[in-house]
């Protein structure tokens, strides 16, 4: 059971994540979009969307810090474990609450605005449930356990396990011994990774960093003539 939950399941999810993204990129660039609903409703979005997105970006940065950077590195920089956890708990709580509040507002907006509700697909709904769960359990860990509660030094078990997964040297026993809420957070998060390529979340990988450095006006020469090149799926001319 330990192996199934903490080795097989994560790898299945990660494989789905990577292969799925490749498949989606290869075959569905046309469907790869933010699917913005701003045209329908802008006033609530103006508050909720930046709140959620900046919050979740901070949360992402915190996970990089907490999971991928070994405790020995921060210690080498002269940051004590207590200081690290105090900062992490406070910053993590702020970011997590911002993301959760933003998401709650976005979902409420989506539910209550008829036009947006009607373009919400079942996949969207499933994704919001899982994303909401991940954030909620994460908040329990960060706010409930680490900021207000007894605290748990995840850098001795969860983080080591995650690095083990990524380095292909899984250490499932570490995770099996972690607190149940951390276990739940990890499981739901990996579920989200498995769903990722099939949802609107793919737009995360379109973050337009290249824009900062490119020329303003772009020129392209005309495509090869129809028939000269095999058209991409979905772009075949009629009658072919």
């Amino acid at each position: 059971m330990t192996t199934l939950l903490w080795v097989v399941f994560p790898y299945v999810c990660l494989t789905t994540f990577v292969v799925g993204l490749f498949w989606r990129w290869r075959y569905d660039k046309f469907g790869w979009t933010t699917r913005s609903s701003q045209l329908y409703e802008g006033r609530q979005l103006a508050i909720a969307s930046p709140l959620f997105h900046f919050g979740i970006l901070a949360v992402f940065g915190g996970h990089i810090m907490g999971l991928l950077v070994p405790a020995s590195w921060t210690a080498a920089l002269g940051i004590s474990n207590e200081l690290y956890h105090a900062v992490a708990a406070i910053a993590g709580s702020v970011a997590g609450i911002a993301a959760a509040a933003g998401l709650a507002m976005l979902v409420a907006r989506r539910r209550l605005t008829r036009s947006i509700l009607q373009v919400t697909t079942p996949v969207d709904k499933a994704m919001y449930v899982v994303l909401g769960l991940v954030i909620a359990i994460g908040l329990v860990n960060t706010v409930g356990l680490n900021a207000l509660g007894i605290g748990h030094d995840y850098r001795t078990d969860v983080a080591v396990w995650v690095r083990g997964i990524l380095l292909l040297q899984p250490q499932p026993d570490l995770m099996a011994a972690a607190p149940p809420t951390f276990q739940a957070h990890a499981l739901v998060a990996f579920t989200l990774f498995a769903m990722w390529p099939f949802t609107r979340l793919v737009h995360v990988f379109s973050v337009p960093l290249g824009y900062v450095a490119r020329p303003y006006i772009l020129y392209r020469t005309r495509d090869a003539r129809p028939g000269v090149r095999t058209p991409r799926r979905g772009w075949e001319p009629p009658g072919s």
Binding site: R35, Q38, S115, L117, V123, G234, P237
Partner: protein
């Protein structure tokens, strides 16, 4: 000098009767699909008026186009790259659906399926966005023909700029139609605003397009375009815009809007321009110099140096030949009567307009004078402050001189041709033509181009590649086949395999023949399904369950 070719258009506003044929045929060709019901790649608005989307010219609100910074560089009006990146999660200058209008259909089925009853059945309007019954409060041409002008026209940004005192008198004196498509600018701010790099200018003909596979739906182009001519397809989550009907133009045919224009007022042809000078010209300090700067970027296709440069740049001989006969070059640079729309936004728009003389003629005729008489008209052009000032705001950054020049040329042409046709004494034809910088012969040529307006004179369009032109097929470029991206489905999980047209029409024909009720007709089901796709499930049932 780096010579590039650019497809351009000129519209002779003097001849526009506001019939909206261009808009309707464009819509049928390009935006008769779910997700872009509200979008009009071509629209005709009555000026004075708010336009479509409402008050699109108000860049204080929409932040479109470019501005010149104090250091003389060009920057997008909405700010630098980083500033705009930080607004990516919620674009503060994106028009909402209410700024366009909420698209609707009618519950036509009621008219056919209602049982015998005392009252006439009524087809109620239903929103294509929510599927709910709705009250129609605005549309793409709500203030057509100055309808509701006392209420709506005061919100016209141009009127507000030229002042309060204008308002009362203009209603009797002044109205014209402004057909608008994408300007296919030389310096397009939509392209510059696109974070994904999905928008581009075609190197061959300068047509500005959106790569539907590259667009990620950030919506910055919609804000970046000061003309609000990029639209967000709310079903596919991608930007769409006027394509200058490139599949037709590549085959040497005019755009749909131009082809179907009953007033024959559109001209399509090539410009040769110096790509190296575009930025410099767009950056001149005084906005009133922008018109001349823009003209100066366009090269004389008869100049041997330009022709040599064009050949060096790989422009085909038939294209150079077409550029030499280009009606748009003649109207913008040779006769100098066509003006760009809103040059002060520094995008170097390539759809030009001949300002309308008719409002002046009407005003003169209305006051009992001879509206065709040159002297009277000339006096009126100088005296009628309102039309000229209004036109100058739209076409020459507020400088009345270019507008007055265009109107004087039109007036001189009218009186010259009247004299010829009525056999009136010659008088001083040479001197009168010279007073607007023309010869009598040139005025007659202009008359031929503007008034006779033969098809082959209006459209000088070289096919894409002569050697490949025969293999170009309009239909091959259409997005509108079943299951194709033009159908506006989600496409998230792959679309149904595209069906060959022959099979599709076979099924359509059979369904049409076998349909029991109007609502079951395939095309009607399609129209209803355009409305709500609740949870991704097609809504035929909603329409059919009445």
């Amino acid at each position: 000098m780096r010579v590039m070719a650019q497809m351009g258009m000129v519209m002779n506003l003097d001849k526009c009767i506001g019939c909206h044929t261009c808009s309707v045929t464009c819509k049928q060709a390009w935006t008769n699909r779910s997700g872009v019901e509200y979008a009009w790649f071509n629209n005709v608005e009555t000026r004075p008026g708010q336009g479509y989307p409402r008050r699109w010219e108000d860049q204080e609100r929409w932040d479109g186009g470019w501005v010149r910074t104090s250091s003389g560089r060009l920057e997008l009006r909405s700010g630098g790259r980083t500033k705009r990146m930080l607004r990516i999660f919620s674009n503060p200058t994106l028009p909402g659906l209410s700024d366009y209008y909420e698209p609707w259909t009618y519950d036509y089925d009621v008219l056919l399926s209602a049982p015998a009853q005392a009252d006439t059945p009524v087809a109620r309007p239903k929103s294509l966005i929510t599927g709910e019954p709705m009250a129609i409060r605005w549309s793409a041409n709500w203030d057509d023909d100055l309808g509701g002008a006392p209420e709506h026209a005061p919100s016209d940004p141009v009127l507000q700029k030229i002042g309060e005192q204008v308002r009362l008198s203009f209603e009797q004196a002044f109205m014209y139609y402004l057909p608008r498509i994408c300007e296919h600018c030389l310096n397009p701010s939509c392209v510059a605003a696109c974070p994904s790099g999905a928008m581009y200018k075609r190197a061959e003909d300068g047509i500005v397009l959106v790569d539907q596979d590259g667009c990620r739906g950030w919506r910055m182009c919609v804000s970046g375009c000061p003309y609000k001519k990029v639209y967000f397809n709310h079903k596919t989550g991608k930007a769409e815009k006027c394509t200058f009907c490139y599949p037709r133009v590549e085959a040497g045919q005019p755009t749909v809007c131009a082809e179907t224009c009953v007033g024959r007022l559109r001209y399509i042809g090539l410009f040769l321009y110096d790509a190296d000078r575009v930025l410099e010209a767009a950056s001149v300090e005084d906005p009133r110099d922008l018109l001349e700067a823009q003209r100066s970027v366009i090269l004389d296709p008869e100049d041997p140096a330009v022709i040599a440069g064009a050949r060096a740049a790989g422009i085909a001989e038939d294209w150079i030949e077409a550029a030499r006969h280009s009606p748009v070059y003649a109207l913008t640079n040779r006769y100098r009567i066509a003006l760009p729309l809103r040059p002060e936004w520094r995008t170097m728009p390539m759809v030009w307009y001949i300002p309308p003389l008719s409002p002046v003629v009407d005003a003169v005729a209305g006051s009992g004078f001879d509206g065709e008489d040159r002297a009277t008209l000339f006096a009126a052009i100088g005296a009628l402050r309102i039309p000229v000032e209004y036109l100058a705001e739209q076409f020459s950054a507020g400088d009345p001189a270019p507008v007055e020049h265009s109107l004087r040329v039109l007036a001189a042409m009218r009186s010259h041709m009247r004299r010829l046709n009525l056999g009136e004494p010659d008088g001083d034809a040479e001197a009168e033509a010279a007073s607007v910088g023309f010869t009598p012969r040139a005025l007659e040529d202009l008359f031929r181009l503007l008034a006779i307006a033969k098809y082959e004179d209006r459209y000088v369009i070289p096919a894409a590649h002569v050697e490949l032109a025969a293999s170009l097929d309009e239909a091959a470029c259409s997005l509108d086949f079943e299951g194709g991206p033009g159908m506006g489905g989600y496409g998230t999980f792959g679309q149904p395999p595209s069906t060959p047209i022959s099979v599709e029409s076979f099924h359509l024909t059979r369904q049409r023949a076998a349909a029991e009720r109007y609502a079951d007709l395939p095309e009607v089901r399609g129209a209803v399904a355009r409305a709500p796709e609740a949870g991704g499930e097609p809504s035929e049932r909603k329409g059919g369950a009445r």
